[in-house]
């Protein structure tokens, strides 16, 4: 569906480039839920921006290849390269940002925002037809029709996020990207929206890419999971395999540090902090915090390779 080869995307700052995404190779498959985990500043949101071909200054694609192959309804395949993807926003690829007030236009009713998103494909005269389709789609998602005549501020946070999900999926895009789509929402609402997203994915058989810092969310919804650390993907594999047999010491310690209800065993955090992306270390980027650090880790960058079946890791231990 989408292939990234050694992609580097940096933010230009007065102090030099911040290497937010630094050499990421990733294939995103058809009909899967792929989730990207990592802490703040690890580059996971930047990676999604790269996928969405949305790189406003100071973010810039330094090198690498992005290739999207999108199956068309007529059986043909549409091949898109970097900087071509944006022409197919909404139609083939859509983006759900973190739950926020600022994504919907605050002075326009939701109905108009649907027309704008579906714009171009429908001539003016077809509004009534389009409205019917929108209403039936909202009904499918169990959203009340009244949201169409509301302004964004009149909706609750959860409802607003549902409207955004509805907008993003209305055109049945082949790829849906979600950057922390449920962060800052209450748990009950969060579960509702995640359930809605995965149900839509199953119906449409498309690709859903979700970024989250919440490991529980990953466990609940994703088929495959990528762990990012300091601008690089350090581990990628089936979600169950990652939770039960994490290979990279970062993933392993991160999962072990999570408290669980019903289990009071002592947990410990990972000491230290991630390196600065202005001047990352030459070898492995986790080297300073790693309990298994060896000499080679400080000298050489570990290669990202397939170690077990469909399970990739970048660590000198393997």
């Amino acid at each position: 569906m989408m292939q990234l080869t050694d992609v580097k995307a940096y933010y230009d700052t007065p102090r030099g480039p911040v290497q937010a995404v630094d050499g990421v190779t990733l294939d995103i498959r058809e009909n899967e839920v792929l989730s990207i985990a990592g802490e703040s500043g690890c580059g996971k949101s930047t990676l999604v921006k790269v996928l969405y071909d949305y790189m406003p200054h100071p973010l810039r694609l330094v090198s690498g290849e992005i290739l999207a192959t999108i199956p068309q309804d007529n059986g043909e395949t549409l091949t898109l390269r970097e900087h071509e993807i944006r022409d197919y926003w909404w139609r083939h690829i859509s983006y759900i940002p973190q739950a926020s007030m600022s994504i919907l236009n605050p002075v326009v009713r939701v109905e108009r925002q649907f027309y704008d998103a579906a714009g171009g494909r429908y001539a003016r005269g077809n509004r009534r037809e389009l409205r019917k389709q929108i209403i039936s789609y909202l009904r499918e998602l169990e959203l009340p029709e009244e949201v169409l005549t509301s302004f964004p501020h009149q909706l609750s946070g959860g409802m607003r996020q549902r409207v955004i999900v509805a907008l993003a999926t209305f055109m049945h895009p082949k790829i849906v990207l979600g950057d922390e789509p449920t962060t800052a929402l209450d748990v009950v609402v969060q579960r509702g929206i995640l359930t809605m997203l995965t149900r839509l994915q199953r119906q449409m058989q498309n690709t859903l890419v979700i970024v989250s810092h919440d490991m529980g969310v990953h466990y609940q919804i994703s088929d495959r999971m990528a762990i990012m650390y300091a601008g690089k993907i350090v581990e990628l594999g089936p979600t169950e395999a990652l939770f039960h047999g994490a290979m990279h010491p970062y993933t392993d310690n991160l999962i072990k540090s999570l408290p669980r209800i019903g289990d009071r065993d002592v947990r410990t955090g990972i000491p230290g902090a991630p390196p600065s992306l202005l001047n990352p270390p030459k070898g492995c980027r986790f080297e300073a915090r790693c309990p298994h650090v060896m000499d080679v880790c400080r000298r050489e960058e570990p290669p990202f390779h397939e170690e077990r079946d469909d399970h990739m890791v970048a660590c000198h231990l393997f």
Partner: protein, 328 residues
């Protein structure tokens, strides 16, 4: 009652919302009772979703917001009317806030805040004494003086800054720390360093903690008791291992079902009444419209606070078979 560290009785805070003339009152905190024992240090978690009133409750306990009615007593003295001097109160009850990057100015060295606290509270008489005090508290949160001295907040991770905030709070040797979402902004790999620190403060320094959070799993991990808040009321209270393994209140049950747990996938058949609904009158259960066990009586009458066992309470008609109760 003076053997209790903290005794909150029938505490309410009403906010006026809406226009000058009509407007209505919103009970951000609605007749809350909480107590913390004085004989040993405990950690109490207050959990709830946004808008449940947990932050307003914390701010009242810190004397940052005046309650509309009800009392808060610290070791038997009313914190508002008991003649507490500002400095004495602040020495006894210390806050920790959500965003450690906002707790410290970007224009000052972070250790300046520690020196200020030591001097302002009369803990240290001169700079030299202050230095000893600061070094001591930093050590107790696992940080080194050399790591902190003369640095700005951008030179620390969120977890380190939050530990410095804890160190600052410790200078006055407080009896109680009120921490409002202290780890919400901290990355998962560093979060446990702060949470474990709270446990250590309890065990080693005998510091009580009120831990305000929306995260059930850290609340379970760290606390002795949990109070679950919903729309201003405490709907369930009890020992944390009981509350989160066998919830008594339907709201606690719903929260637990919604948490994205690891190792246990969500079942598809759980109904999710998460669509927000209009407020019911004060004379009913606030949770009635979302409750999966709702009966007619819940929409007519205020539910009673029922004691389930010695330590547990639930604000619900269900444990009393939906029978009308004598209001006690």
């Amino acid at each position: 009652m003076s053997d209790k560290l903290l005794e909150v009785t029938n505490l309410s805070k009403l906010y006026k919302i809406g226009g000058l003339v009509i407007g209505s009152l919103l009970a951000a905190v609605d007749a809350v009772d909480i107590s913390m024992p004085g004989d040993r240090a405990t950690i109490l978690s207050v959990v709830g979703e946004s808008g449940s009133g947990k932050t307003t409750l914390a701010r009242m306990m810190l004397r940052l917001v005046d309650p509309t009615s009800g009392t808060i007593q610290l070791e038997g003295r009313d914190i508002y009317k008991g003649g507490f001097r500002d400095r004495d109160f602040k020495a006894a009850v210390q806050p920790i806030f959500q965003n450690p990057f906002e707790s410290f100015s970007i224009h000052r060295h972070v250790d300046a805040y520690l020196y200020d606290t030591a001097r302002n509270f009369g803990i240290a008489k001169n700079r030299k004494e202050a230095q000893t005090v600061v070094a001591e508290v930093l050590e107790s949160v696992g940080l080194d003086m050399n790591r902190v001295a003369g640095k700005y907040n951008s030179q620390f991770s969120g977890g380190e800054l939050q530990r410095i905030a804890v160190a600052r709070a410790l200078i006055t040797r407080p009896k109680l720390i009120v921490a409002d979402e202290p780890v919400a902004m901290i990355d998962a790999s560093l979060r446990m360093n702060v949470i474990n620190l709270f446990k250590r403060l309890q065990d080693e320094f005998n510091v009580n903690l009120i831990y305000i959070t929306h995260d059930l799993s850290t609340a379970y991990y760290v606390s002795d008791h949990i109070a679950v808040m919903y729309r201003g009321s405490i709907v369930e209270y009890g020992p944390s291992n009981e509350i989160l393994t066998e919830p008594a209140h339907p709201y606690t049950e719903l929260l637990l079902d919604s948490v994205s747990k690891i190792g246990e996938k969500w079942r598809d058949d759980v109904p999710l009444p998460d669509v927000e609904i209009k407020e019911y009158g004060a004379k009913a259960c606030k949770f009635a419209e979302r409750c999966r066990y709702v009966k007619d009586i819940c929409r007519r009458l205020k539910p009673p606070m029922v004691s389930i066992d010695e330590e547990r309470r639930s604000l619900c008609f269900r444990p009393v078979d939906y029978q009308e109760q004598q209001v006690s």
